[in-house]
């Protein structure tokens, strides 16, 4: 092939690619436009203007106080914060638990290895939704009634209504906590203080246990990827087995672990949307309620997609930065 012909080929390739991109964009625009036209013709109101209207429903738990007179955008914000409130502890627990189980799967001790293997095989092969419902069911049936709570410590109560603990609160309108509010037993159970609701415990525990099984496999693969010679070198230096693991093996294993772990954390955050099934008011729950009250399904689903995309990109960004730190320098 002459040089002339190859240059022409490259040019042609660019043109075709550009046309292809244009065709895809035009197709997408046409579909969206058509959908909006159909909605308009059927008298369906659309748009994001509803976000500033009062929501009319309340959200009973979370870091952002929300009552029915506040606007929809704040409800979505409260839902988003609740998603983060469940995902972050679940991510931390699952990484810690998963690392221990992953190491346990390689332990010389047969019983320990067996338990860890059984854990992984059981937890990763049962759908998360089923596990969540089982957890919720267990909590609902094992704990005492809210009207007859168990007092674990002074001011600490446990019941189907959740775990209540004393919590610092501020006087009305103040910014800084001034005193502790103690939970008290009332006619309908414990009120006051801070409470971990059964729904919250269910979703955090469920996500942690489930993701830990996957993290364990990632950790195991990472450790196995470090060459046996490194262990021998550690032994030659007189390091204990714990020191070998901590100083020699794990830092090298991280190069294999971190990229896969990123994927796992991404799916953990997305899986938190299953919380809606067990009654925890996170983003998807708020969106569902909104769709039920004003029917803006397109808009609400677009918000859900945008939020999860944003959260995922943030996690990817953070984990990629971390990955760059643990990666072999020569490769960059």
């Amino acid at each position: 092939m002459s040089r002339e012909a190859s240059r022409r080929g490259a040019w042609l390739a660019w043109v075709v690619q550009a046309l292809l991109v244009l065709a895809v964009l035009a197709g997408a625009a046409w579909v969206v436009n058509h959908a909006l036209e159909v909605l308009r013709s059927r008298g369906v109101r659309s748009g994001f203007d509803f976000l500033t209207e009062p929501a009319g429903f309340s959200i009973s738990e979370g870091w952002i106080d929300f009552d029915a007179s506040q606007p929809f955008w704040r409800a979505f914000l409260a839902g988003l914060v609740n998603t983060v409130r469940a995902s972050v502890p679940a991510a931390i627990f699952s990484v810690v638990l998963g690392t221990l189980i992953g190491i346990g799967r390689l332990a010389p001790h047969v019983l320990l290895r067996g338990i860890c293997t059984a854990y992984v095989e059981l937890l990763r092969n049962v759908p998360l939704l089923v596990q969540l419902l089982m957890l919720a069911f267990a909590i609902a049936n094992l704990l005492p009634d809210p009207t007859e709570p168990v007092r674990l410590l002074p001011g600490v109560w446990l019941s189907k209504g959740g775990l209540s603990v004393p919590w610092p609160v501020s006087v009305e309108g103040g910014w800084w906590p001034t005193h502790f509010e103690w939970p008290e037993k009332g006619d309908f159970g414990v009120s006051g203080g801070a409470a971990l609701s059964p729904e919250y415990v269910t979703i955090v525990a469920g996500l942690s246990f489930y993701s830990a099984a996957f993290v364990a496999e990632i950790v195991r693969a990472g450790i196995l990827s470090v060459s046996q010679g490194q262990v021998l070198a550690g032994q030659a230096l007189g390091l204990t087995s714990v020191q070998q693991l901590r100083i020699v093996i794990l830092p090298q294993a991280l190069r294999v672990i971190v990229p896969s772990l990123t994927n796992q954390l991404l799916s953990l955050v997305k899986n938190s949307s299953l919380a809606v099934a067990v009654g925890y008011p996170e983003l998807v729950s708020v969106a569902n309620t909104t769709i039920g009250s004003n029917g803006r399904a397109f808009e609400c689903i677009a918000i859900i997609m945008a939020v999860y995309l944003l959260l995922s990109l943030l996690i990817s960004f953070g984990m990629n930065r971390y990955n760059a730190r643990v990666a072999l320098r020569g490769w960059r």
Partner: protein, 344 residues
């Protein structure tokens, strides 16, 4: 050289083809129903008395009967209904998208739903109100005593919003725990997670009888905190289908008023001299053609499910497990609110 671009061109072509084949605006619903041979009816995934499948998968209930009556009027066979179980978040999208022809899923008629979702509500088939179910042992006799209580309910319903409104107006703090499915919400209540459960009073009665570990351990509080007029709804922009969905239930109400029943319809068809009855059994003036149907449309509907009173009695009234009183759902001339414009 050219072969390199073939896959790319294929993708481009399929994008164009997909765009061209994307759904056009649905044609007339009546034509679609006749061509398909069934009415697609959106219902709940199980609320006793309104729409619930039995162990053999046969649906029954007030909403179910409304759809059967429409199928009988339009297609001549009450069995030609495809029931599509929908949860409260799916229901509106399913109707908007044309997956169903009519939504008969104990849905409350509200201004927002009527004016902004692209729907038309037809005829109110049940006047409901939202109530509370509580365990007897709490010794609560009024909703106003529920200060600091936790209340279980279902997301995406008017119930969720009414609870907020009611207790805000009374200045009584309560907590709500909101579940995606109806089943999850009442199971949480019966397991003791919440001190009260709230939904439409009709459904409360069904729940207490069907789902409570021991029905006598629970009471329904006297307060009804909202108006919940339940009505089937159809998509806007198809007035012909809207008229059918409106007038079939109206004919069933009128049939009760003028004493036409499932049992006596044949006899009245042969002998009745009353013009109102004659119109209902198809021997009077032909009203069917105004709806795009034949002369016996309402006769078939009555033969299939009975008049409104019979439907009520069988599904939610004395002959059902719910045993709900007729109350507001009695005919207008018997002290109730059920009123059909004249079928003439």
């Amino acid at each position: 050289m050219k072969n390199r671009f073939r896959p790319a061109l294929a993708v481009a072509a399929s994008v164009v083809a997909f765009a061209a084949a994307a759904p056009a605006i649905a044609g007339k619903t009546l034509d679609a129903v006749k061509q398909r041979g069934t009415v697609k009816c959106g219902v709940t995934n199980g609320v006793a008395g309104f729409s619930a499948p039995d162990t053999q998968g046969n649906w029954s209930g007030l909403d179910v009967d409304t759809c059967r009556a429409i199928a009988a009027a339009v297609l001549g066979d009450a069995k030609k209904v495809d029931f599509v179980p929908l949860n409260s978040q799916q229901r509106f999208s399913a109707l908007q998208a044309g997956e169903i022809d009519i939504l008969a899923r104990n849905t409350t008629w509200t201004l927002t739903r009527d004016a902004s979702l692209g729907f038309n509500f037809t005829t109110i088939t049940y006047y409901d109100g939202q109530g509370f179910l509580v365990p007897k042992k709490l010794k609560v006799t009024s909703a106003k005593q529920l200060k600091n209580a936790t209340i279980c309910t279902q997301s995406g319903t008017t119930n969720e919003k009414n609870v907020s409104d009611y207790f805000r107006a009374q200045n009584i703090p309560v907590k709500t725990v909101v579940f995606e499915s109806f089943e999850a919400s009442f199971k949480a209540f019966f397991s003791g997670r919440c001190q009260a459960f709230t939904t439409d009073a009709s459904a409360l009665a069904g729940l207490r009888n069907k789902e409570a570990p021991n029905p006598d351990d629970y009471v329904i509080l006297p307060e009804l905190i909202s108006k919940e007029p339940l009505a089937p709804l159809v998509r806007r922009g198809d007035d012909e289908w809207f008229a059918i969905a409106k007038w079939v239930p109206n004919a069933l109400i009128e049939a009760e008023e003028f004493g036409v029943t499932q049992a006596n319809a044949d006899e009245l068809k042969a002998n009745s001299k009353d013009p109102a009855q004659q119109r209902l059994v198809g021997t009077g003036e032909d009203l069917g053609k105004l709806l795009g149907l034949d002369k016996e449309w309402s006769f078939r509907a009555i033969k299939a499910v009975g008049n409104y009173g019979e439907m009520f009695e069988r599904n939610v009234g004395p002959k059902s497990v719910l045993k709900l009183p007729r109350g507001s759902n009695n005919l207008w001339n018997k002290g109730g609110l059920i009123y059909a414009p004249p079928v003439r």
